[in-house]
Amino acid sequence: MQLKVNLGGNRPIYKQIIDQVRQAVSSGELPVGASLPSVRQLAEELVINHNTVARAYAELVREGTLESQHGRGVFVAKRRSVFSATERKRRFQHALDVFLADVSVLGYSADQIQAEVAAKLESFAATE
């Protein structure tokens, strides 16, 4: 996986890293157990402050996307729920709201959106 950051955009760099790692994990591009570059390695590649990378990794570890194995590095974690049922639901609803707000301006009908989501889910299932 090649992470990229855009400077000058509306999204802070550490959030861009979080977004891209989550995306790569959920699409299967980064399978369970895959290792991520060290904080130092990624900071050097992206030419950004190492604390920014460390913050992004810490957040990904906290939410259970990654796990840190002492002395060995950071890896994609087995999927497990680290959130309470309410928090899990809240996060899901929030992601849904963002998604619908984004696609509603594109002029797709509800049926078309449902069909696209179903097709995407199938391709996700296929990679797992």
Partner: protein
């Protein structure tokens, strides 16, 4: 870690030139081990602040210290732990790069010749090159090497990217990031280049009109400064929005920037009428909001101070 003495500490720091206050009541801590960026207009008082910090100027009121020592009485030992890169990369023009190294080596006991050599190589300078014959970017490289090879704990840089081409600028940023990765090293950098700030900084401080209007970690600054777009031209009543920092009308829309919005903010925007949408702001937009209208800033300064 938490009770570590800040690398830079100012308390009510005030400096007048004649009857003009260039800095007014500046209270700022720069934590050890982080990169803090200082941003402001030309003439906002950044260089005056640096000169005060290094003891090259006396405060009219208030105080400042570096590495726990009062700036007015920095011992040679403490000075040896501070690296300062002045605006314009001042070097003696007749020197060769290796003479510059010899000059520093005699002043700083912790001189690291290997680091000096490797930074020169990185910028494509050979030890025998004369300062007056190399490019501006390479001069910046020599100045950076002279500063970093003294192995400072605290690095103070005044507009180090000024006049550099993109390649030299990137090299400078890489050099500073490598320095910052080492344990317990602190950087205070004045710059106008917000892309560099985004790459480098853990904290941002904004000075306007001699006062500190922002002093926050980069994350909390980005999170706490929020934009709203109102689909209506609004000429009056904006001042009533709690936390308002800046507003601009573009065509028949009004853009407002707000610090720490709460329910009250949303209600106030609702009362104005028109469709209102919250929008994420770039670092540049957020900082410009603080720098633009000198008249509206003062009363909001405390809103973003602290963590």
């Amino acid at each position: 870690m938490l009770d570590r003495t800040p690398a830079v500490r100012t308390r009510g720091l005030t400096r007048f030139f004649g009857d003009k206050a260039v800095l007014q009541g500046l209270t700022l801590d720069v934590p050890v081990g982080e990169v803090s960026a200082l941003i402001g207009h030309n003439g906002a008082g950044k260089t005056t602040l640096i000169r005060l910090l290094l003891g090259m100027l006396e405060p009219t009121r208030g105080s400042c210290e570096l590495l726990g020592c009062d700036s007015q009485s920095l011992s040679p030992e403490t000075r040896g732990r501070i690296g300062y890169l002045a605006e314009g990369h001042f070097l003696w023009w007749w020197m060769r790069a290796k003479d510059a190294a010899r000059f520093q080596r005699e002043t700083f006991p912790s001189w690291d010749q290997q680091m000096f050599d490797s930074i020169l190589r990185f910028f494509g300078v050979s030890p025998n090159d004369r300062v007056r014959h190399v490019s501006r970017g390479q001069r910046a490289g020599i100045a950076l090497a002279m500063t970093l090879a003294t192995d400072p704990e605290l690095l103070v840089l005044d507009d180090p990217s000024m006049g550099l081409d993109p390649v030299a600028r990137r090299a400078l940023v890489e050099g500073l990031l490598a320095f910052a990765r080492r344990d317990g090293r602190t950087i205070l950098i004045c710059t106008h280049l917000l892309d560099d700030v985004e790459r480098l900084a853990d904290r941002v401080a904004v000075i306007s009109g001699g006062q500190l209007v922002v002093n926050a970690s980069m994350d909390s600054f980005r999170e706490r400064v929020v934009g709203w777009r109102i689909d209506r031209a609004i000429s009056s009543g904006l001042q009533g929005i709690p936390g308002l920092i800046d507003s601009r009308q573009i065509g028949d829309r009004t853009h407002v920037v707000i610090a720490d919005p709460d329910d009250e903010t949303a209600a106030a925007i609702d009362r104005l009428g028109g469709e209102a949408i919250q929008e994420e702001l770039s670092l540049e937009d957020s900082i410009l909001a603080f720098l633009r209208p000198a008249t509206m800033i003062g009363s909001l300064s405390h809103a973003l101070e602290g963590k």
